[in-house]
């Protein structure tokens, strides 16, 4: 792999002197995460139990996997608001498809496998549509994905008649282990998140595609003159996002075995928030997957801690969440802003 393409600096360029504050700001989200773990442990002794941590990690895996794709999209200077609605639509169509196929293939793993492939195909297609509209037709990413967000969600509402699309009970018992099963005591969704995060970090920092994403996000015009096929890379990030949504959805479906119009509501904001909390730059040019994962865990832990205490009126939950999110980002910006 060539190193000729400009890689954005991990640390802000200083006079060359080593400064601890640079590292502090870089690891800001990690410090916030540790602080939350300590606070949680003090509030409730069962907080640090393996069962609770496993619950939070498994729940967070859904947003986490989506947010890996979001990191690529944002690093390349894009935005995707449609992921929550896309997830709901993929879930609904996947369930309907599996129910239909079960008539001939039975309720075993074969049907579930076909359903998974179908979901991945749907995610790819949805991402491709977003990508093509943004690049070929030159419509703002915000508008395109706001539009597809409405389209995806209302299609699901239409298909479900406003109610739930439920997986057949035989298929449900077959697919159940995808969410609830464990390997060496670790739930599958956590393993999936870990593996995808490692692959994502590798692709973002060690492959040409990853560097192209950062180059485009930092300056699309320069990237174009550097002979990068800007449109193709951009489309690829949206397809990657669609694939991540599909993977998260195929883990989500076995959990409750149903898709409803409330499935995935506001997941797009959670994913984007996690990415920014993790230190990726919203305007593009610099991204890091490990930060995104830390961001997702921060969001998951806040909700968990709020459920584990009666300190605050539940009416105030949103304000606590908001304050911690701002604090977590402040910790990495504090020094740099001065």
């Amino acid at each position: 792999m060539s190193d000729t393409i400009a890689v954005p600096n991990k640390l802000p360029a200083t006079s060359g002197r080593y400064r601890i504050s640079d590292h502090l700001t870089s690891f800001g989200p990690l410090i916030a995460l540790v602080a939350l773990l300590i606070i949680g442990g003090l509030i409730n002794e069962s907080f640090l139990s393996s069962a609770n941590i496993s619950n939070v990690l498994t729940r967070s895996a859904l947003i986490g996997i989506i947010a890996i794709g979001t990191t690529f999209v944002i690093t390349a200077g894009g935005l995707d608001l449609s992921v929550g609605a896309m997830s709901a639509l993929v879930a609904g169509l996947m369930i309907m498809f599996m129910n239909a196929v079960a008539a001939t293939l039975g309720t075993g793993w074969l049907t579930v496998l076909v359903g998974i492939l179908f979901a991945l195909l749907l995610g790819t297609m949805a991402g491709l549509v977003n990508g093509l509209l943004i690049t070929r037709w030159r419509i703002e990413a915000f508008i395109v994905t706001l539009g597809t967000m409405g389209i995806f969600r209302s299609l699901l509402t239409y298909l479900s008649n406003g109610g739930a699309i439920s997986l057949e009970s035989g298929l449900r018992s077959t697919a159940r282990p995808i969410y609830y099963g464990t390997l060496l005591g670790i739930a599958y969704p956590i393993l999936a998140l870990a593996i995808l995060a490692i692959i994502g970090e590798f692709v973002l920092w060690r492959t040409r595609f990853g560097r192209h994403c950062a180059a485009i996000g930092s300056n699309a015009a320069v990237a174009k003159y550097s002979a990068i096929n800007v449109n193709r890379v951009r489309i690829a990030t949206y397809i990657l996002q669609g694939l991540c949504v599909a993977v998260a959805t195929l883990i989500y479906v076995p959990r409750l075995g149903a898709a409803t119009p409330s499935t995935g509501v506001l997941w797009e904001l959670e994913a984007i928030a996690a990415v920014i909390i993790g230190g990726t730059v919203l305007s593009g040019g610099y991204g890091r997957i490990w930060g995104t994962i830390v961001g997702v865990l921060i969001l998951g832990l806040i909700q968990n801690i709020l459920n584990l205490t009666s300190w605050f009126s539940p009416h105030l939950n949103g304000s606590i969440q908001g304050a911690i999110i701002i604090l977590a980002v402040l910790m990495q910006k504090g020094r740099a802003a001065r």
Binding site: A51, T157, N161, S262
Partner: protein, 320 residues
């Protein structure tokens, strides 16, 4: 002579006018009925949308002269706009509305009423009395009270329960207040109340955290069947289903099926059906189609559904 002819003509014209006027009432002039309901943001409203569409389709077939305009809103603000459009642009003769929130919708509905529009409110009233011509509603205090009575009976007046609230709204407050009041003086302790937004995913997560936090839980009031379905999964995952009881509410078919099948975890439900939109639209439509009188307050009960009576509340083909 001329004068008498004129007067005969005059009487004839008057008579004709009376005939046309009366026939227009009896045989339905082209009346337009606007329906404004919340969008399908959770299962119950999903069912509401489904039954609205079905009722309108049936009424259209029966009375071709009636016209219906359905609008769905995902916020009170959007609903205010919807009503303004129904009145000003669609020029409706009647409005059937399930208010998203009572306070913000009261003025716009009063404005519509002032223009001579027949107003039917469903489920939630307005914050001023006497605005609507017809009110069809569920009994929300009863909903909370029945839930409390259920736990009193099942737990023999003693135990620890957790509660999931719905979407923060007036309805949720009314139910929860009645629930708390009915539990006063018993030894049933409510460990915590968190919002689960009548949503299965949220119900799952809140229940997981309750189970981590409280080593002993005897009962769960999930407030709604959607949230209850999520809670059940969390309880099964933790293997804490022994000696636990879960009560949802509102009569989702999946939950009623469980009751009919003799589920150990869920053996009852509270009836509060989205079908209450059917009589509201029906009575309003008949008033215009046939001149049948409609008005007053119709309050549907919230009985407890158990294995004995579950069958009569079971609609397998409905989405909710």
């Amino acid at each position: 002579m001329l004068a008498s002819v004129r007067s005969i003509l005059g009487i004839g014209a008057m008579a004709l006018a009376v005939v046309t006027a009366s026939s227009s009432i009896a045989l339905a002039e082209k009346a337009k009925i606007g329906i404004s309901i919340p969008a399908a943001t959770h299962g119950w409203t999903g069912g509401l949308n489904y039954h609205t569409k079905r009722t309108v389709d049936a009424l259209k077939k029966a009375y071709p002269d009636l016209e219906f305009v359905i609008t769905t809103a995902d916020s009170a603000t959007k609903q205010v706009n919807d009503i303004e459009d129904l009145v000003a642009v669609q020029k409706i003769n009647a409005l059937v509305i399930l208010p998203f929130e009572s306070d913000p919708l009261t003025e716009p509905v009063k404005e519509a009423k002032k223009q001579g529009i027949f107003v039917t409110t469903v489920d939630r009233g307005l914050s001023e009395e006497g605005v609507e011509d017809l009110y069809v509603g569920g009994n929300n205090p009863e909903y909370g009270r029945i839930a409390a009575e259920y736990f009193k009976t099942k737990l023999k007046g003693k135990g620890k329960i957790v509660v999931m609230r719905g979407i923060p709204t007036a309805i949720d407050n009314i139910r929860i207040d009645a629930f708390k009041k009915a539990l006063e003086g018993t030894s049933i302790q409510v460990l915590d109340m968190q919002y689960a937004n009548w949503n299965p995913d949220k119900g799952f997560e809140v229940m997981q955290d309750y189970l981590q936090r409280f080593p002993q839980i005897d009962g769960v009031w999930a407030g709604d069947d959607d949230a209850a379905l999520g809670a059940i999964e969390a309880i099964n995952q933790a293997g804490r289903d022994k000696g636990m009881i879960v009560l949802g509410g509102s009569g989702m078919n999946k939950v009623i099926k469980r009751i009919m099948d003799g589920d150990k975890l869920v053996d009852a439900d509270i009836f509060y059906p989205p079908t209450l939109i059917i009589p509201a639209i029906g009575a309003t439509a008949l008033k215009f189609a046939t001149g049948a009188p409609a008005g007053g307050r119709w309050v549907l009960g919230s009985p407890l559904i158990t294995k004995e009576n579950a069958e009569q509340y079971y609609f397998p083909e409905a989405p909710y």
